[in-house]
Amino acid sequence: MSCALLLLLMSWALAMRTGAAVEIQRPRGVPLSKRQFYEENKPFTCLDGFSTISFDRVNDDYCDCRDGSDEPGTAACPNGSFHCTNAGFRPAFIPSSRINDGICDCCDTTDEYNSGATCQNTCREMGRKERESLQIMAEITKEGFMLKQQLIHEAKRGQEDKQGKLTELQGSKKDLEEKVEALRTVKETAEDPEKEAKERHLKAWGEQKELIRMEKDKTRMAEAFLELDDDADGYVSVAELQSHLELDPDSDGSLTETETQGLLGGADKVDTSTFETVWSGIKDKYLSEGQSDPPAPVETPQEEETRDFVSDHYPEDYAGEEEDVEEDEEDDDHEEEEEEEKVPPTVQTPEKRADDEVSMPPYDTETQSLIDAAQKARDDFDEVERALREVDDQMKNLEKEIGFDFGPSAEFAYLYSQCYELSTSEYIYRLCPFNRVSQKPKFGGSETNLGLWGQWAGPEDSLYSVMKYDHGQGCWQGPNRSTTVKLTCGKETVVTSTSEPSRCEYLMEFTTPAVCQEPASLDEVLQGHTEL
């Protein structure tokens, strides 16, 4: 049996540090650390302690131990593992199923001792390459880490700046709030006399209008008397009035004598002076014999004045507010506050009314100066209030930015509001950290959203090594697009690759100094990878 030859073939290990060759005998595939369990010519107890076999059954190409520990150097046990020393490179364990399978797994070729596979010892070469790449990596890490410190510093300063700005804004907000309050008082103080003066003016105008109205009424009464007094006897009689069916008090279609008498205050007829009393009772219904339409309802002067007031002032106010509309939409509070002032225009247009009615006389100088003063106070108030809103907005943005998780030392803060692109043969990919990922075809076509900022999604021990963007554009019969961004240490901040490993699930590789870890010294790195 050729496998008999394998018995106790011993492997050699080179102690590379000293450069001196030191022979350490142990069964094939056993790591130095377990050498003591394999003592030649003494019964071997399986490492799980389950059974004990004679030493010639160690590496005899038959699996005796449940845990596979009797065959570290053959493929006999399904659960065995083989140790390659890999002098010059990194030692490794491989599953024992890879021993003599015709594939060179250990760079020192020790796994293929009986398969006919021609393996080259590549450990030194690999070691050299690894050292080189480790060196390069170490340099990158070193430089990256320095850059990271800078980033942290900048972020800290940026954070401080922002915090300072915020504090500053808080200060100015407070000032502005006070100012708003002060100006509100000024405004209200100025508006009181303005209101009084306006009311006065209106009242005077109202009285004047009332006089005119009364005169008009008297004229109408005289005309009605003449009209009713058919026989021109200087009296209006029951018979004369009875033809005016519109005056029927119970609206039953007939005006009886009694009813008519009632209208005439119980008299059969009245003269001019008594008619004055009768007139006031019937004038609202009375139809002139020459006119068939009912008279337009008489409006009270009060209503008229209110409308005029609005029509006088509304356009100005409205024009003033228009510029602020967009801002207001973002800020409901403001909108509500100003709701009162923004009375929507009435249906009737002021111009038309002006034709019918006597227009209001201009304000007197005194009133006008009060109005001017109040308007100025309003303007001042509005301006400060607008400034306050701006400050509020700025604070919100700042607070949002400060609230982002930019890493333990805010080292990722510099990525905020930046975008990085990678162009492939078909698409331009765009990563805007903490915002979104997108893809745009190079040769026309619209941009596709590959995901919006979700969260940090690295494993527990390195949360900040992976970003997750999700809820992108939906896929046909599939999920919404999402992108995983893997961050690796690099001097530059660049998107290095993109792929779509699974339909609509994108993977992006991104280098940034912000993930560079503090480099161990190169010696430490190499030492950690070399067994003696």
Binding site: C3, G478, S499
Partner: protein
């Protein structure tokens, strides 16, 4: 970008075929009623046959009997030819005596002109003739009026033809509305029979000269040409076969529904449990009763429909028992009717009488399963698509990192340069040879897809050559037929043309197929052929293959594609290496060229279940190398379903995971360490059992016995097995009952065989046969049992690919019968060349345990092969404890073997016999 990247064509296709739903759009496919010839034929009801045999025309030669038949309605004469074939078969051919033009006879399916045996005339009178079929007092009775054939054994009728009078032959004719029909004058006076509908006005309605389905018009310059024949099977209640259908193993009766349809179609998201046509067609039906197994092979490649009815169907078990008790029962009988659109009637009646006989008989006609390279029986990792070389390398690495073996990684259509097959996407696969070399270094392989539709593109070499050589299928007007498929506008090479096939094969030469290497094999998909904008998503029936219409040979196209491809892979190696080609479309004989899979299935539990009857049905008719996409192609499986599918697939012949482009990735390690471990274990069980799989395939290749078998094939008398299709046998010796229910806590397996025992292969627990056994299961359970009386070789050292295990030692599992007997085999060769065949380089040994001795002796003395593999361990199940075990080798040496005995399970393990696997040896227990 999903749709944008799939290209506008796919969008169109999706729009047409998806309609936003996740199920087959049945409206895209014809029912019998929508298919003119099927409707015409089905209108003919059972009754007295229209045909009469003209006994005066009888001629009997050494090889055959010929006899004319006449349809008394239209006076058209048919020619009947009867052959008695070697191996207990009868061939019945019926053609028009004088057809207007030749009718299509299927070429290239039979492996030779079947050798005949003389028929002898036993008696003859005016009613008919009686012929002897040789041994077993089998006779063939030809009755003249009405015409019918009966095959009898003793006093028992085994099978009758035309006993229900459904023989119908639409003779070729000249179109009446354009030219005078020479028979027209006579016919006017005749009453029109159901199968001879009036022409002219009604012809259009009957679809005899033209037929429209959806927006497609089928022009039929040859007019009606369909054929039909009925078969009656007295005593038969179970019929099987005629794949491919997503239906139960036991075929159902088709009364009141559509017949089973055989017409190769690309059915998007097929539904289960119905008789709709799928990707492949094998017109072979098996009948089985406790007395006899027979087969009917209807050699016709045109669209075919099969009606099945039964006089016991619909009767309850109680009803049947009452019939029995009251003695009023008629004999159970199954009636079958075949209808084909064109060609001739050419039927092979395989008379069994055992299932093994039927398999051999069918194999003698159409050949056996191609013997695949051993690695093709291992695990295949596929996905639409592995995106680029880096992706391939990463997946390859993933298998090593997770210590899961695999042999093949597959590339779907996206690997090509714009769906131009034989090319590579220059960006994603710039260095295919580097990639393939990387796989060679790991002793692994690749399959790259090559579909038969060829992009019409004047800058594409393959297209230009096919066009300039005139190799494309032609449309009815003589121009190159074009249709839409993955690349957009495509041509379809005429694979029925042997010159075309030879040219196609030459394209696989290493210097023609750039970037290909010896570890790259081929997958032929879409070879029904799929034509996205064609009628029923396939080729127009009036398209021309030389002088024949696609109508005549439609179901053959896919076979030819795989044939030419396999030939190419053989040629490129100078005839040395066995090919591996997977096909989706197939026909009778396709087993000679490689593997098939059940097409685009769906990730749901019912599709997992149906994979069993679908592959069992294929195995019964020659195609052993069958599998279903593990995990399901469409949609995304739950983790439990994926694990269960791996566990099932590990015990089915073709073991490949595959996934649709739109599904999330599902490599085995993406579902957490526990599920990775479960999948790893399932795959490892497959690898450990590869010696047995290989041996089963050797037998399938050698003698046509199916690898995956229904229970009734081995337990022919046990009626309880006749309808079982949720479990199966591998060879004779392993019984597998996969867990295919979500959340299963247990399964009930039927262990057949009165007086037999079965051993759980995992626990070695012994169970008695002829019982329903409830087996509690966990997510790690794969219920598999080894038959007491068998010996199964395994390789316990599972490595990262099957090639890595080539020289590893064997462990023999000897499961003793209650009589303390067991028998098995061991087959070994180089695993990949034809040397086993051409130079008899193989080892084939008989392993037997009897009289407390296990021995290995040579089964193939003429062969020779040297293996370094040795016998590592012998595990004897159901053993008693010996006092000593002695190994005797041919050199006369004797040595004592150490052993362990587990009394609780009666398992004896012999430690390290160490003897070479190729030599004689004996182990004696005392």
């Amino acid at each position: 970008m999903v749709l944008a990247r799939m290209g506008p064509l796919l969008v169109l296709w999706l729009a047409v075929f998806l309609s936003g739903t996740w199920a087959v759009d049945r409206g895209n496919f014809k029912t019998c009623d929508q298919c003119a010839f099927c409707k015409r034929q089905r209108a003919l009801k059972p009754g007295q046959s229209l045909y009469r045999a003209l006994l005066e025309t009888l001629e009997l030669t050494n090889t055959k009997l010929t006899l004319q038949l006449i349809n008394d309605n239209n006076k058209v004469r048919l020619l009947l030819e009867l052959y008695r074939l070697q191996g207990n078969m009868t061939r019945v051919k019926i053609n028009e005596l004088k057809p207007l033009k030749p009718r299509f006879e299927v070429p290239d399916v039979l492996i030779n002109d079947p050798p005949t045996e003389p028929l002898s005339l036993l008696s003859q009178d005016e009613n008919g003739v009686v012929l002897s079929l040789g041994a077993d007092s089998q006779r063939l009775i030809v009755s003249a009026k009405p015409f019918r054939l009966d095959i009898m054994e003793g006093r028992e009728v085994l099978l009758s033809l035309n006993s229900r009078g459904l023989l119908a032959f639409e003779h070729l004719r000249i179109r009446k509305d354009t030219q005078v029909d020479p028979e027209g004058a006579e016919k006017k006076e005749e009453t029109d029979a159901a199968n001879e509908p009036a022409e002219g006005e009604t012809a259009k309605e009957d679809g005899m000269w033209e037929e429209t389905f959806k927006s497609h018009t089928d022009n039929k310059p040859n007019g009606p040409s369909s054929i039909s024949l009925d078969f009656s099977l007295p005593g038969v209640e179970h019929v099987y076969g005629i794949p491919e259908h997503a239906d139960s193993l036991k075929l159902k009766t088709t009364d009141g529904g559509d017949p089973y349809r055989l017409f190769n179609l690309d059915v998007f998201q097929y539904e289960l449990f119905n008789p709709m046509a799928l990707y492949g067609a094998i017109p072979v039906m098996l009948s089985h009763s406790a007395q006899r197994t027979m087969g009917i092979f209807w050699l016709n490649a045109a669209e075919t429909w099969v009606d099945i009815s039964s006089n016991t169907a619909g009767k309850t078990v109680l009803g049947q028992m009452l019939d029995y008790v009251q003695g009023s029962s008629e004999t159970p009988q199954t009636d079958v009717r075949w209808i084909s659109e064109s060609g001739i009637i050419d039927v092979f009646i395989m008379l069994g009488p055992t299932p093994t006989d039927v398999f051999s008989q069918y194999a003698s006609l159409t050949g056996t399963q191609a013997f695949p390279p051993l690695s093709a029986l291992a695990y295949h990792q596929c996905r639409w698509n592995y995106n680029d070389q880096e992706d391939v390398a990463a997946v390859d690495q993933g298998f090593d990192e997770h210590d899961i073996p695999y042999d093949f990684i597959w590339l779907d259509i996206e690997h090509t340069d714009g769906k131009r097959y034989f090319t590579w996407d220059p960006h994603k696969f710039p260095q295919p040879k580097d990639m393939l070399q990387g796989l060679i270094d790991k002793r692994r392989k690749m399959v790259a897809i090559v579909d038969p539709h060829i992009k019409v593109d004047s800058s594409y070499k393959i297209h230009n050559e096919i066009r300039s050589k005139g190799f494309y299928v032609k449309n009815k007007d003589g121009g190159d037929y074009e249709g839409w498929c993955w690349p957009g506008n495509s041509g379809y090479p005429d694979f029925t043309n042997p010159e075309m096939r030879a040219w196609w094969a030459s394209m696989f030469a290493y210097d023609q197929y750039e970037g290909s290497m010896e570890n790259m094999y081929t997958w032929n998909d879409m070879n029904e052929p799929s034509v996205f904008n064609g009628p029923e998503v396939t080729m127009h029936k009036d398209a021309l293959h030389g002088t024949w219409e696609n109508r005549d040979l439609h179901n053959l196209y896919g076979l030819y594609v795989q044939m030419a491809t396999a030939e190419g892979l053989i040629e490129r190696s100078g005839g040395v290496e066995r090919p591996f080609v997977l096909t989706r479309a197939f026909f009778a004989g396709s087993q000679r060229y490689g593997a098939v899979w059940t097409g685009d299935n769906t990730a749901d539990w019912d599709h997992l279940k149906i994979s069993i009857p679908m592959c069992l049905s294929l195995g019964l008719v020659g195609v052993s190398f069958c599998g279903a996409d593990v995990g399901g192609f469409f949609k995304s499986p739950s983790t439990e379903l994926l694990v269960r599918w791996y566990q099932t697939g590990a015990y089915q012949p073709f073991f490949r995971a595959h996934a649709h482009l739109d599904t999330p990735r599902r490599e085995p390690w993406l579902f957490g360490p526990e599920n990775t471990a479960l999948i790893r274990e399932a795959v490892r069980q497959r690898y450990a059992l590869l010696p047995y799989w290989y041996q089963l395939f050797y037998h399938a290749h050698h003698s046509g016995q199916p690898v995956m078998r229904p229970l009734w094939v081995e337990y022919t008398q046990d009626t309880a097995t006749f309808s079982v299709d949720d479990q199966f046998l591998l060879g004779r010796d392993l019984l597998v009952h996969p867990v295919t229910e979500e959340g299963a806590k247990g399964v009930t397996a039927y262990l057949p065989g009165k007086g037999e025992v079965w051993f759980d292969v995992h626990t070695f627990q012994k169970h008695n046969g002829a019982q329903n056994l409830y087996i509690p299961v966990t997510i790690s359970s794969i219920p598999v049992f080894q038959r007491g009386g068998s010996i199964i070789p395994r390789k316990a050292r599972v490595r990262r690919s099957s090639s890595c295990m080539e020289h590893d030692p064997y462990t023999l599992f000897v499961a003793l019968s209650p009589k303390r007997f067991a028998q098995g085999e061991l087959y070994i060769d180089d695993g990949h060349t034809f040397n086993f065949d051409k130079q008899k380089q193989f080892i084939h040994r008989r392993l037997s345990f009897a009289n407390n001795a296990l021995s290995s002796r040579n089964l193939a003395p003429g062969s020779q092969f040297i293996t370094p593999s040795w016998i590592e361990k012998i595990v004897i199940l159901g053993a008693s404890k010996p006092s000593k075990a002695t190994l005797k080798t041919p050199d006369g040496k004797e040595s004592l073997l150490e052993f362990e005995f587990d009394a609780s399970m009666s398992v004896l393990t012999l430690r390290k016999p160490g003897v070479n696997a190729g030599v004689d040896w004996t182990v004696v227990l005392q």
